[in-house]
């Protein structure tokens, strides 16, 4: 009896399985059958996770598809951020295909433009939208446009700009008897962190450590160091660069006032009130705001004493990778929609990125009300004039150069070897890579 029951159970599961397979076969068949054939269908590849603008992308695409007469956009989410998208793009190219519009991270500017064929947005405008010839010039700051340029010209249009700011746990600062308005230089950050550690037992600072060295570059730049020369030679192991990293290493290794952890764990620690200051992208704003049960504020990225703050622009630009003319035309139509004031405002609210377009922040149909409600964004907006391109190491070994930077960061923060030796070795290694 039990035996028979078991057998029944097994066949039942198998049956369900087969039914599901058949069903899904049917549904997917239907889907492919009911496509709207008269519209040009283009693919937009993006990297925005559901909690980080993905929802907004869906809504924007839906709205655009409803409005547009002849273009239908299919948005495709690529897991694993810009790296993941690049991988998928590689694979797509290997298969002889390409999407129409892609979102490219700044660090991949050089790699992307060397390896994929794209349409210069200036050419796209001249070809498909000659009436709007000065669209780029009118709507974007020159230093912002410059972010998406290589030697040959404009690769794409800046889409999301992220900027590093210093988040403050005001309650912890107060408890440690510190000025709640925060430190005004990195040297002061060190003092603050040390005081927090000694007075409250919590960590003083966490600087983001993802699989890039964006924040660490900001530190070096803000001490007047240069990362690479115009010709693409690495020069970051200068006196200023070493000094900046030395201060950072001292905090982690000597004072033990700064945390050395992967990004998500570090941010988690700050939001749970275990760290006094957090140096990370403005895009974390809504996450911090939603989770923090203490008074939190942001201040612009500090400089070193007597130097000027500089912030490398993070985020991404959009590039047209469509190959046929009708696809390119459709891609531009969609791109133009994405860069409209309303779309930009919606995008900023969903992501916390700084809008690349000039007029969005102040406009009533832009972000005016939003900024009033979210003063934390102001720190990032205020430092936009200090934005410089994020170093994209030239040549095909650019990604490897970035990896060397990451490795030396980990060596330095791990406390093994001196800062100057590690940085000099890294610099030499990068300069020896084949271009």
């Amino acid at each position: 009896m039990i035996r028979r029951l078991k057998r029944l159970g097994v066949s039942f599961v198998l049956l369900i399985g087969i039914l599901v397979v058949l069903l899904s076969g049917c549904t997917s068949g239907n889907q492919s059958g009911s496509g709207e054939t008269h519209k040009t269908v283009i693919e937009y590849w993006h990297v925005n996770a559901q909690t980080q603008g993905g929802q907004a992308v869906d809504e924007l695409v839906k709205d655009f598809n409803a409005k547009s007469k002849d273009v239908k956009v299919v948005a495709k989410y690529n897991p694993d951020m810009y790296k993941g998208l690049m991988q998928n793009l590689q694979a797509e190219k290997a298969a002889g295909k390409s999407p129409a519009l892609v979102q490219v991270g700044w660090a991949y500017l050089d790699y992307f433009s060397n390896n994929f064929s794209y349409l210069d947005p200036n050419d796209a405008i001249a070809k498909f939208d000659p009436k709007n010839k000065s669209f780029l010039k009118e709507n974007f700051l020159p230093n912002v446009l410059h972010l998406a340029q290589n030697k040959k010209g404009q690769v794409g249009i800046p889409y999301s700009l992220s900027s590093p700011v210093l988040y403050l746990n005001k309650d912890l600062l107060k408890k440690a008897g510190l000025n709640e308005n925060g430190p005004s230089s990195w040297q002061e950050v060190r003092q603050f962190a040390d005081t927090i550690k000694k007075k409250t037992g919590n960590y003083g600072l966490y600087v983001q450590e993802p699989a890039d060295t964006w924040a660490q570059q900001a530190l070096m730049l803000s001490n007047g160091a240069q990362i690479i020369t115009k010709k693409g030679k690495a020069v970051f192991a200068s006196k200023e660069g070493i000094e900046a990293y030395q201060l950072y290493q001292d905090m982690v290794v000597k004072d033990k006032s700064a945390l050395h952890l992967p990004w998500d764990q570090g941010v988690d620690a700050f939001v749970k009130g275990k760290v006094g200051m957090l140096y990370t992208t403005i895009a974390q704003m809504s996450n911090v705001k939603a989770g923090a049960q203490f008074k939190v504020s942001t201040i612009p990225s500090p400089p070193f004493e007597g130097k000027e703050a500089k912030v490398p622009a993070g985020g991404s630009f959009l590039a047209i990778t469509a190959q046929s003319e009708d696809q390119q035309k459709a891609a531009w139509e969609f791109e133009k929609y994405l860069y409209s004031r309303q779309s930009m405002a919606k995008w900023t609210e969903a992501t916390g990125y700084v809008p690349p377009r000039k007029d969005v922040a102040q406009a009533k149909d832009g972000l005016k009300d939003y900024i009033a409600e979210n003063p934390m964004l102001k720190a990032a907006l205020d430092q936009m004039d200090k934005a410089v391109p994020w170093t994209s190491f030239p040549g095909n070994s650019g990604l490897q150069a970035e990896q060397i930077m990451i490795d030396s960061r980990d060596k330095i923060l791990g406390g093994s070897g001196s800062v100057s030796k590690t940085l000099k070795d890294a610099q030499q290694q990068i300069n020896q890579l084949e271009k």
């Binding site: 694993d80 991988q87 809504s286």
Partner: protein, 276 residues
């Protein structure tokens, strides 16, 4: 041995096992608990396992913002097709390897088993190129295709079949029973427990598969469950932990139900004659 000493020893070992049980269960309990918390609560009352303000908002969010039913069906399809094919192909191959000698049998068996030792990085790039060339990119059948047979399955089934006394089969052969008859009436009933436990292993592994589907599937409507988890983990904007936990619960749900439904059976088959 004195009874007393034996009793003490038992208690100590029970304690050791209880530690293992706690380690095994804690993450699951933690996931359940957090999937019913709001973001702020999950950040701030970490040690509280029972949510102070339980909410089903996280589940609502994922069911409204994603084509979740379609994704569940996709996952089910992949797991079912892969499991059925793997079972059939492994079973046939194992049968041939166990009960006959033919030219190159040893070498082929060795070759098949050797594929267990091939790390997935070795085949990843070329397989990707194959799938994209035959146009199965962004299609669940592209995920399925390279996985229609399984060396572990062949190995385990061959091991099992080799324990069947040859005489049993030789007798029926002498009685004039054909290959199909032997397979159906003698070998299959004897190996059924192994087939089922291996099948469940296939199903669960395929259900949870992550790396290969990320390479193949691009469109959310074609995703499988483990892939959508990634959509709620964003280093850039912070991970929404409670929502990610809600997705984890959905991902766990079907293997869990399968397990609870068949647990006695699964565990028994492993214990009685599963793998030798």
């Amino acid at each position: 041995m004195p009874e007393n000493k034996m009793e003490w020893r038992r208690i100590i070992w029970h304690l050791v096992l209880i530690v293992f049980v706690l380690v095994a269960l804690f993450p699951i309990v933690f996931a359940v608990s957090n999937s019913f918390k709001g973001l702020s609560e999950s950040y701030n009352s970490i040690l509280q396992l029972i949510p102070a303000h339980p909410t089903i908002e996280n589940y609502k969010t994922i069911f409204t913002s994603l084509p979740l039913y379609q994704i569940i069906i996709n996952t089910f399809t992949v797991a079912t097709v892969v499991t059925l094919f793997k079972l059939v192909t492994s079973y046939l191959a194992a049968y041939a390897f166990s009960f006959s000698h033919f030219f190159g049998d040893k070498l082929l068996y060795f070759l098949f088993i050797a594929t267990i030792f091939v790390p997935f990085t070795v085949t990843m790039i070329p397989n990707y190129l194959i799938i994209s060339r035959i146009g199965l990119l962004n299609n669940i059948y592209g995920v399925i295709l390279p996985q229609l047979c399984d060396a572990t399955g062949i190995f385990l089934l061959t091991q099992t079949m080799r324990t069947i006394p040859k005489s049993l089969i030789e007798v029926s052969r002498l009685d004039g029973v054909k290959t199909v008859g032997i397979l159906r009436d003698i070998v299959f009933p004897l190996t059924r427990p192994a087939v089922i436990s291996i099948g469940i292993m296939f199903f669960i592994n395929s259900w949870n598969e992550y790396v290969w589907p990320t390479l193949i599937l691009k469109d959310r409507a074609n995703f499988t469950l483990p892939l959508i988890l990634q959509m709620f983990i964003s280093s850039e904007g912070g991970t929404n932990f409670p929502i990610a936990m809600a997705i984890s619960m959905v991902t766990m749900f079907i293997p869990l139900v399968l397990y609870l439904f068949f647990q006695k059976y699964i565990l028994n088959t492993f214990s009685q004659s599963g793998i030798k």
